[in-house]
């Protein structure tokens, strides 16, 4: 057994996880601000960072908001993505090419670009969304400010994230659907199964590994998402009333130059993501043993 082939694994594991985690823990027990950054030496403060975070009502509000936000994002992404993939099999090739082109364009669109477009579309003075909604007689949306309330702001962020995440889900599920044996679907249909039954009892079990990976990746990505809320809400509008974990961590850790507190928040975030996805990870590892 050539052990030097494993060496990169151990080095990698140490580099991508061990060292940063060690520092994260060390940092979370220190006062480490701008002054300490220049001195290159933190001051040990025990559990003070954790204490200040846990006793901060902003943290709990942010956490609750982020959990709901993540659930909405992941749920909508998975349901809509799967629905589109299922319909994609049924329609004529013109529509399929049209939609696939759209999906690829969105997929290739950097989040920063997507944010620019959404900012422009929802601009209250000359945004095209307001214009179209008014023309369609949904109501008078001229001069409607979508960024006036926290809910409508975060709903926009959710729409943006779901819109950007759907292509990955559609393409993966669509590709997975081609792996479902036609005989199984046919057999179920001959036995009188309605489309919903076929989907629930034939398609889903076969695509389960794909759904597991997609869902767990989505949870991980959406729980810590930063770019979309940071840019769409905008630094000038970000405050305690619309924090999600990603922007909360950035503001507390970097913007206020309190790295020790940032580290403490990071560790709490890590624990929560681990809790959220432990179920999926166990499934994934078990998959591996069954094979």
């Amino acid at each position: 057994m050539p052990y030097w082939l494993i060496l990169p694994v151990l080095a990698t594991v140490g580099a991508i996880l061990g060292y940063p985690l060690y520092w994260l823990f060390k940092l979370s027990f220190e006062r480490y601000g701008l002054f300490e950054l220049i001195q290159h030496k933190g001051v040990g403060v025990g559990w003070a960072n954790f204490g200040s975070v846990i006793h901060d009502p902003v943290f709990w509000h942010t956490l609750a908001r982020t959990v709901i936000f993540t659930a909405a994002n992941v749920g909508l992404t998975m349901v809509l993505g799967t629905l589109i993939a299922l319909l994609l099999v049924q329609v004529s090739s013109v529509i399929r090419v049209l939609l696939t082109t759209g999906l690829v364009l969105v997929w290739a669109m950097p989040p920063v670009v997507a944010v620019q477009v959404w900012l422009w579309m929802t601009n209250f003075e000359n945004g095209v969304v307001n214009y179209i909604l008014t023309k369609l007689h949904v109501g008078d949306y001229m001069q409607h400010d979508w960024y006036a309330s926290t809910f409508s702001m975060l709903a926009l962020v959710t729409a943006l994230i779901v819109w950007g995440a759907i292509p990955f889900v559609v393409v993966t599920v669509y590709a997975g659907l081609s792996q479902v044996p036609g005989e199984l679907v046919e057999a179920a249909e001959i036995d009188g199964a309605r489309p919903w039954r076929v989907f629930k009892d034939v398609t889903v079990p076969i695509l389960k590994p794909i759904f597991l990976i997609l869902t767990s990746l989505s949870i991980i990505w959406d729980f810590g998402v930063f770019t979309q809320p940071f840019l769409l809400i905008g630094q000038s509008r970000i405050d305690t009333s619309n924090y999600v974990m990603g922007t909360y961590l950035y503001e507390q850790g970097y913007f206020f130059h309190d790295f020790g507190r940032g580290a403490a928040i990071s560790i709490l975030m890590l624990l929560m993501v681990a809790l959220l996805s432990v179920f999926y990870v166990r499934k994934m590892v078990r998959f591996d043993e069954v094979r």
């Binding site: 060292y19 759209g102 579309m121």
Partner: protein
């Protein structure tokens, strides 16, 4: 089921036209399916159409409610180059994306191979660690890493404000790539590897000759993921080079572009198109390999 074995009567049964009620229902379902997907296609294509149209408008028009540019102003694209150091940003982005992507592939392949095909003590533990690393939001490890880079300062390495802190970690493996590659390597039949071993190949030769050749789609997928991720990356560049405009990458440049020249939507959208172009071209060229890689690693995983 081959058609040859179907009795003549059964074939006739299959061919028979379904009753009108069933046909009408099928027609309605098809109409519903098509309209749903056309709506979806509009949702995904419309923003892109808005970008293109606005990029061709004059500034006054971009602020009005007209949707069709009149006259077409192609000069916007060249104006962008005069108003912002777009070439500088592009160069920085390319350095970051290309060097980081090569690093991800070079460093992740051996790790994934060792996790998938070599038996050694602690392998499952190492895989668990990779999974945990996959779960970490990037912001989590970023605080200690930032402090670590700044600690190198007294030793003569002035890394903060340069692209190095963005590039170097990618040469130490990437959890997502390792995970995808491992899942793919597991699907390679053991017989191929055994045959190579019987022929006297060492593990490294097996990796470079047999495995690498069979894993091309997966490696292409990983390289593409990595390229797109770094190309689109906003958070890390903002952190490390945000205060040093000469090292800005496209994503930062673009988000600053609006504030740089008070809001000129037409130029912003023209810049947006220019930024998107490389990613789109790459995507259409490599879509096949991409999807193949995703499917193979996903379904069999």
């Amino acid at each position: 089921m081959s058609t040859a074995s179907v009795p003549v009567g059964a074939a006739a049964l299959v061919r028979r036209r379904p009753p009108p009620a069933v046909r009408r229902q099928r027609f309605l379902v098809a109409v519903a399916n098509h309209s749903l997907l056309i709506a979806a296609a509009i949702m995904f294509l419309a923003p892109f159409a808005f970008i293109v149209l606005t990029a061709l408008m004059t500034n006054d028009q971009a602020l009005s409610s007209h949707l069709w540019p009149h006259p077409f102003r192609w000069r916007n694209f060249s104006d962008v180059f005069h108003q912002a150091p777009l070439l500088r940003w592009t160069l920085n982005t390319m350095i970051y994306s290309v060097v980081a992507t090569i690093g991800v592939v070079v460093s992740s392949v051996p790790v994934a191979y060792a996790l998938a095909r070599l038996r050694w003590r602690g392998r499952n533990l190492a895989f668990m660690v990779v999974l945990i690393a996959l779960m970490l939001p990037p912001q989590v490890t970023v605080v200690p890493l930032y402090v670590m880079w700044s600690k190198l300062h007294p030793f003569g390495f002035h890394f903060i404000g340069t692209l190095w802190p963005l590039i170097i970690p990618n040469w130490l493996g990437d959890a997502f790539s390792i995970f995808l590659l491992r899942q793919f390597f597991l699907t390679i039949p053991e017989e191929y590897l055994d045959a190579a071993r019987v022929d006297g190949c060492g593990e490294l030769r097996i990796l470079t000759t047999v495995v690498l050749r069979m894993a091309k789609p997966a490696i292409a997928a990983v390289a593409l993921f990595s390229f797109l991720y770094t190309f689109n990356d906003f958070f890390l560049p903002l952190l490390y080079v945000g205060e040093n405009p000469s090292h800005w990458v496209l994503s930062i440049g673009l988000s600053e572009f609006r504030s740089l020249r008070q809001v000129q939507w037409n130029l912003t959208m023209a810049a947006t198109l220019l930024v998107m172009a490389p990613a789109i071209v790459l995507f259409f060229l490599a879509q096949r390999a991409f999807i193949e890689g995703v499917t193979l690693t996903g379904v069999k995983g």
